[in-house]
């Protein structure tokens, strides 16, 4: 009896739909996400129902992590020169003796968290290697500490522009750290802040949810 021949099937699988899916997902990620801003510390911000969007330019951002270390940064996407002016101002007012190259390096540095005495040392390190440098945080006390001077000089540089003040704190940071940051701002006669949070929905049935629904209906 002749044996039944099983036709040999090709093992070649058509990958084309797979490619389609992969690139579709890729497109989604490119469209829906934003690059993470470089930061020297990881900060997990709390949630809030606030919907106001984060400004990217003309803002001063003070961050504090869970151990209370404070970092200072200037956000000036539109005008990189503004950041240079800030460090120049601080260099002059605190006579830090920074070189031109070090001041240029500050412009590339996402945030600084060192006392004035350690600033020269930090800025001598190229920006790419700064993450290996353990930053102790800007010194703070109940009177504002060195953060007061950072804010004062930055505000002085931005005169004539509408400057916003951002505070970004970690979930597990203790209240005194927050309070000291507020003090440093208040000493500069700044009383209006924006705290960076992650959006969450207003709980259903609450007054805010009712108000939001009304606004939504009105805009339609």
């Amino acid at each position: 009896m002749p044996s039944v021949k099983i036709p040999r099937k090709s093992t070649f699988v058509d990958m084309t739909p797979f490619v389609d899916v992969a690139f579709l997902i890729l497109t989604f990620f490119i469209m829906a996400t934003k690059f993470k801003p470089e930061e020297p510390v990881e900060i997990k911000t709390p949630n809030s129902v606030s919907t106001k969007e984060l400004p990217e330019s003309d803002a001063i951002q003070v961050m504090f992590d869970s151990s209370g270390r404070v970092f200072f940064s200037v956000l000036s996407e539109n005008d990189p020169k503004a950041k240079y002016e800030v460090i120049k101002h601080i260099n002059d007012s605190r006579s830090l003796g920074l070189t031109e190259a070090e001041m240029k390096n500050f412009v590339r540095t996402p945030a600084v968290g060192v006392p004035f005495s350690g600033l020269k040392q930090l800025l001598a390190i190229p920006q790419e290697d700064q993450k290996n440098f353990k930053q102790p945080g800007v010194p703070l006390d109940t009177l504002g500490g060195e953060l007061y001077y950072w804010i004062r000089d930055a505000v002085g540089t931005f005169t004539g522009k509408k400057l916003q003040f951002l505070i970004k704190g970690d979930n597990n940071a203790k209240y005194p750290a927050f309070k000291q940051v507020l003090t440093a701002f208040k000493k500069n006669e700044i009383f209006k802040f924006q705290m960076i949070t992650m959006l969450e929905d207003a709980p259903a049935g609450s007054e805010l949810a009712i108000l939001r629904n009304r606004e939504k209906a009105a805009s339609k």
Partner: protein, 214 residues
């Protein structure tokens, strides 16, 4: 028909020396392309963030020395103290010397307390001249500010809770998250007047005593 017959030449047979051109497969191996695609996806997942952060507004009062700051009506004051381990202590009006009006709750329970307080304040409301002004503002709304305040259809109720003042007092052991959560609670429950101040020494001692007792 219109199709081109590749068999060619009207049944003409090729000679023995003429080799038939081998038909190459048009199939392309897509596997490396898949690899590349997923590699890029992985890269994007790691370097980007999904949600864009939002900001929450906070207005602090000036630290003024004079004590005639807008005194709150005792009947409408609710003090919320934030302690260690997400515990919330609340009391209405003044803290009694024996602390009998102090209640311990959590962040889940605090909303009910706030809403209950708001209800009680509204029930005890007495109309006065200041009230008419608030009603008028709510009725007209304000389109000049950004975001605009819409005219309130319930403008008659706008001033009912005007005596309600919530005082937030975070302890030294309270976390930043607690502070934001309670400020958020003000937004959720549409509390118009609230303030964030420091604890009195009496309250500090009291919280410490409760925490040690636990």
């Amino acid at each position: 028909m219109a199709s081109i017959d590749e068999g060619g030449g009207g049944g003409h047979k090729k000679g023995p020396g003429v080799k038939k051109a081998k038909k190459l497969s048009t199939r392309v191996d897509m596997t490396p392309m898949v690899d590349l695609g997923f590699l890029l996806i992985t890269f994007f997942i790691f370097t980007t963030t999904m949600s864009s952060p939002t900001t929450m507004q906070l207005f602090m009062p000036k630290d003024s020395k004079d004590e005639d700051q807008n005194k709150a009506k005792e009947s409408g004051a609710l003090t919320i103290m934030l302690g260690k381990n997400n515990v919330v202590y609340i009391y209405r009006g003044q803290l009694l010397p024996d602390a009998s009006n102090l209640h311990t709750t959590t962040f889940k329970g605090v909303r009910d307390s706030i809403l209950q307080m708001k209800k009680d304040v509204i029930n005890a409301h007495v109309h006065d001249a200041g009230c008419t002004k608030i009603q008028e503002e709510a009725r007209l709304g304000n389109s000049k500010v950004n975001p605009p305040i819409l005219p309130d259809p319930n403008w008659k109720n706008a001033c009912l809770d005007k005596d309600l003042v919530i005082v937030i007092k975070p302890d030294e052991e309270a976390t930043y998250k607690n502070t934001i959560d309670i400020l958020d609670e003000m937004a959720i429950n549409a509390i118009k007047r609230y303030a964030m101040v420091d604890l009195f020494q009496v309250e500090k001692d009291l919280i410490k005593k409760i925490e040690v007792g636990n």
